[in-house]
């Protein structure tokens, strides 16, 4: 067993990147979907939920087919010098895709809950659509979005099925905490497993609690 720091830092790096990517894409797609008036909307939404319904290992398998050296997309990536298979970047891609629906759904529900009249009030004040988004919709939806993003972070931290497939299990290079835990459990090494599980759990709890506090809570104190 390597030191626990290597997989822990790797896990945080991978989950951090995956969360950041999902924050951007998930929120953007959710906003688009929540404003899009079309019957195709729910279909697109359901299809974007699919990464959740496929067993991660299977998803990882398809990612491998797609991004592998012999995959269409992988060959192109290879030609521009990007290598996803057996790299931590591959783990980021896997975790991002697996956690994407969590941010999407949460953000969409949050955006749809924002009072449309407030957005109109901003428009009348001459504020651009970009301004309406950043100054009204986003802050009012923040609570729901953050809930989704934290879920995505936890999921990315726990992801190992798809990661294992595409990023492989190269000790010290792509072995995330989850993969290490899996290994330990498989090997019947309960002591190591328990220690690693505790480390992941504590890390996750700490990150969730700190992140939860970063969002300003503007609910006024109740008068009673």
């Amino acid at each position: 067993m390597h030191s626990v720091w290597t997989p822990l830092l790797l896990s945080l790096k991978v989950a951090g990147w995956a969360t950041a990517l999902n924050l951007i894409f998930g929120v953007a797609v959710a906003y688009g979907l929540s404003r899009w008036r079309s019957t195709a909307r729910d279909l697109v939404d359901s299809i974007l939920t699919l990464p959740l319904v496929l067993p991660p290992t299977v998803l990882g398998y398809y990612l491998l087919v797609l991004f592998g050296r012999r995959g269409t997309f992988g060959a192109w990536l290879d030609s521009i010098g990007v290598q996803l298979v057996f790299t931590w970047q591959g783990a980021v891609v896997a975790s991002t895709i697996v956690a994407f629906p969590l941010v999407l759904k949460a953000a969409r529900a949050a955006f749809e809950n924002v009072d449309a009249q407030l957005e109109d009030a901003a428009r009348i004040l001459g504020v651009s659509e970009l301004g309406v988004f950043f100054r009204v919709s986003l802050p009012l939806a923040a609570k729901g979005i953050v809930a989704g993003v934290l879920l995505a972070f936890a999921r990315a931290l726990g992801e190992f099925g798809a990661t294992l497939m595409i990023a492989g299990n190269l000790p010290g290079r792509t072995q995330t905490l989850s993969v290490a835990i899996y290994e330990a459990v498989q090997a019947g090494d309960d002591a190591t497993a328990t220690m690693l599980v505790l480390i992941t759990s504590i890390t996750c709890v700490v990150v969730l609690m700190v992140a939860g506090r970063l969002v300003p809570n503007r609910t006024p104190l109740p008068l009673r």
Binding site: D115, L118, D120, R123, I124, P139
Partner: protein, 225 residues
């Protein structure tokens, strides 16, 4: 004509439908819409602000065409340059009083960083007696305070027209008088038309030049004071 409006809209809600058929024109810069509850006053203002799209007709402000169904012209709310006081205020719950008032001073993605230092924010905080609650959130202030914040927010961007939906209804008499004065002065200074919805005869007297009577979705009469 400074204001010229002629619009139709059929609104359905449940089994009921309401037909709005408003048409009036006026050179006056102080117009009052007067009429019973549910007659269509707020909807008329919403149409002018671009929050409600009529089925047919047109809306003209000075010589600017804001809406024309036949020519398929429909300016965005952002382009109409109107000040609009919502009947239920529509304050931003996540922004302080000062931030709410300063909201229209920036049109981009960021709020004004020090709203209380901006001269027009200061002016209205002073004029409407809101100085000591400048840092409070809408949930922490009283009903009348909210109404004043909403009015200040609408007036700050110096618009082409003032659309005010019962701007003083939550205020006591002395405050009402004071604000009527402030508003009258602002309107004179900007020289823009003002469309006011009110139930208070004192408002009509102080701020109205022409009064249109709205009833069942139509203009039923007109008085000049």
């Amino acid at each position: 004509m400074s204001v010229e409006i002629q619009i139709q809209k059929e609104l359905r809600a449940g089994e009921r439908s309401f037909r709005l058929n408003i048409s009036f024109a006026s050179e006056s810069r102080r117009i009052v819409l007067y009429g019973p509850s549910g007659s269509g006053k707020s909807l008329t203002l919403k149409a002018m602000a671009g929050l409600m799209t009529p089925d047919s007709g047109s809306i003209r402000l000075h010589q600017r065409l804001l809406f024309d169904a036949r020519q398929r012209i429909n300016l965005k709310p952002q382009q109409r340059k109107v000040a609009y006081l919502f009947q239920d205020y529509a304050l931003f719950p996540h922004l302080t009083v000062a931030q709410n008032i300063a909201f229209g001073l920036r049109s981009g993605a960021l709020n004004l960083s020090r709203p209380t230092e901006h001269p027009s924010v200061q002016k209205w905080l002073q004029a409407f007696d809101l100085k000591n609650i400048a840092g409070n959130y809408p949930a922490q202030i009283s009903g009348g305070q909210r109404q004043r914040v909403a009015l200040a927010r609408a007036l700050v961007p110096e618009p082409d027209i003032l659309l005010l939906d019962e701007p003083f209804s939550a205020l006591d008499l002395s405050l009402r008088e004071r604000m009527r004065k402030e508003l009258g002065e602002l309107q004179q200074q900007l020289q823009v038309p003002m469309l006011l919805i009110t139930h208070d005869p004192a408002d009509v007297e102080a701020l109205g030049e022409v009064v249109f009577d709205v009833r069942d979705g139509e203009i039923q009469g007109q008085r000049t004071l």
